[in-house]
């Protein structure tokens, strides 16, 4: 299904990072909804195939950072690039898969898992209809996340974990190179959370770049390769193994960091 991804991943490991643009490149980015900046002087570069988690306390600017790098917000200063293109002008929607926190759960919209996952093909087909090949990709994506027997279920009848799997399948159906997840496990039961991280890991192993905004520090340390700790500015950016021992955790979160839960932005 995603043969070109594997090629990309192979190239990414063999070529030097200078020869191809980073997936995400933020340079001196500052942004505020009012005169007070929510994020300030952020510089981050994420290369193809990385598994990165952004952590930070409530109101630390995590979701704002995500919106900036996806081009949904324009920086007040600095530059944000996605696949080497200015993020706000980036229009190759198929390359980015986005999974929101509790996406679509507030509505009683009658829509099946298959109908949600087909949306991943929309950037490819434009105004056209999905071809038989597109539907095969959709069904394959549903199968990959282990939801085949739920394909014709209404999404509102599913548990939180199942629903998030459907959204990941949507990103897979789009053959996304970059998967951006905004606190995807909020409201998801523990068992499903474990399965969910297992799925992310197998996708990462295939070469997909994973960017996870997460409040659950334990999960981040266990699963992500690289951690960016944010609280308006970057307190830590490095391998997750080093994060727990760093002073950044306590500085960014204050004391009692381990018990932090919930919230975004």
């Amino acid at each position: 299904m995603r043969s070109h991804h594997r090629d990309d991943a192979d190239e990414a490991t063999t070529e030097s990072s200078e020869s191809r643009p980073a997936v995400v490149e933020l340079t001196d980015v500052s942004f505020g909804y009012t005169s007070t900046p929510v994020v300030e002087d952020i510089s981050v570069s994420i290369d193809a195939g990385e598994y990165v988690a952004v952590v930070g306390p409530n109101g630390s600017g995590k979701s704002t950072l995500m919106q900036l790098l996806l081009g949904l917000l324009e920086p007040d200063s600095g530059t944000a690039e996605l696949f080497g293109v200015d993020a706000t002008a980036f229009d190759d929607g198929a390359r980015v898969g986005y999974v929101a926190q509790r996406a679509g759960t507030s509505r009683e919209m009658p829509i099946t898992v298959r109908e949600v996952v087909q949306m991943g093909r929309f950037p490819h087909v434009g105004f056209g209809r999905l071809s038989a090949a597109d539907w095969r990709i959709v069904d394959r994506a549903i199968d990959t996340v282990g939801m085949s027997s739920f394909a014709d279920r209404r999404i509102t009848q599913l548990s939180g974990g199942q629903r998030q799997r459907a959204f990941i399948a949507r990103a897979l159906a789009g053959e996304a190179d970059l998967l951006v997840l905004d606190e995807p496990t909020v409201g998801v039961d523990t068992e499903s959370v474990d399965a969910f991280y297992g799925l992310l890991e197998s996708l990462h192993a295939e070469g997909i770049t994973v960017l996870l905004i997460e409040h659950d520090l334990q999960a981040v340390i266990e699963h992500a390769e690289r951690v960016i700790c944010l609280n308006r500015e970057i307190y830590f950016d490095g391998p997750s193994a080093e994060f727990t021992d760093s002073a950044a955790l306590a500085r960014a979160f204050g004391t009692g960091a381990q018990s932090l839960t919930g919230g975004n932005r």
């Binding site: 929607g93 009658p110 109908e115 197998s202």
Partner: protein, 324 residues
Amino acid sequence: MTLAFAAGGVYEAFLPILEVWYWLLALLYQLTGLDLINPEYTFMYRAILVGLCVGVIAPLIGTFLVHRQLALIGDALAHTAFAGVAVGLFLNAVLELSVSPYLTAVVVAVIAALLIELISEATDAYNDVSMAIVLSTGFALGTVLISLNAGGLAVGINQYLFGNLSTVSAENAVIMLGLFSVIVGTVALTRNQLLYVTFDETAAAVAGIPVVWYNRIMVMLTALVVVGAMQIMGVILVAAMLVVPVAGATQVSRSFSESLLVSIVLAELAVLLGIGISYYAGATAGGVIVLVAVGIYVLSVFAGKVRQTGAPDETRELDTISQD
């Protein structure tokens, strides 16, 4: 003037469809002897045609509105369409023009729709207050213009407020066919984008869909539906057709495509039963249609409950994750 000229062209283009429709219903009358479609009352032929069109376009657009929790936008636009009717009547009286009030209603409602959308873009939310202001301004403007018109006598105002089967002229039927083509054509073309934006606006934006433009298209289509449906539903009840059949379909449908289809079937049922009942009982069609639609909605709620209890329970079991 250009408007009237363009309308003339459209009228000519759609007239043959109307002729075929007359012929079909006359044939049906010969087969069934149903008094409702007696060829002596061709106004009923036109009313049924307009009703059937409403039964398609209202739930079609309503499905997208309801699932974005924008059900009330139809009400706001209906009241501004009323202002548009008043503008048409006023211009005809003062400048001695002969523009159809439905055409001026289209123009004013589309402008109001864009205004609502622009306000929501500026304030980053569809807010009740701005919607209420647009709604009352539209209605106030309409009542003032109509009171100034014709020496203060609001001639024929009831047909716009409550709708009227007998006043559906050939011209109005043709306007409806034009609106129907534009609405169905636009939704057929942009179905993918409208669905994505309706379901998950942020993900749609990330997927490269210009969300702002599709929101504008959606409110403009709503304005067109409202004006089209106003002829038989009236300003006050027109929004019901956008919402009630969709609410009913939501109860019994498993998928989005199914809910689109079911909402249209429910709306057509309400329209045909409503027109039939109102014809024989001598009651106002708009009101009867809405009452029938609400009755169908109540039945759908029960049907939905029955279906739910028969459905398999939610399970948390997952298939194994394939390693691709």
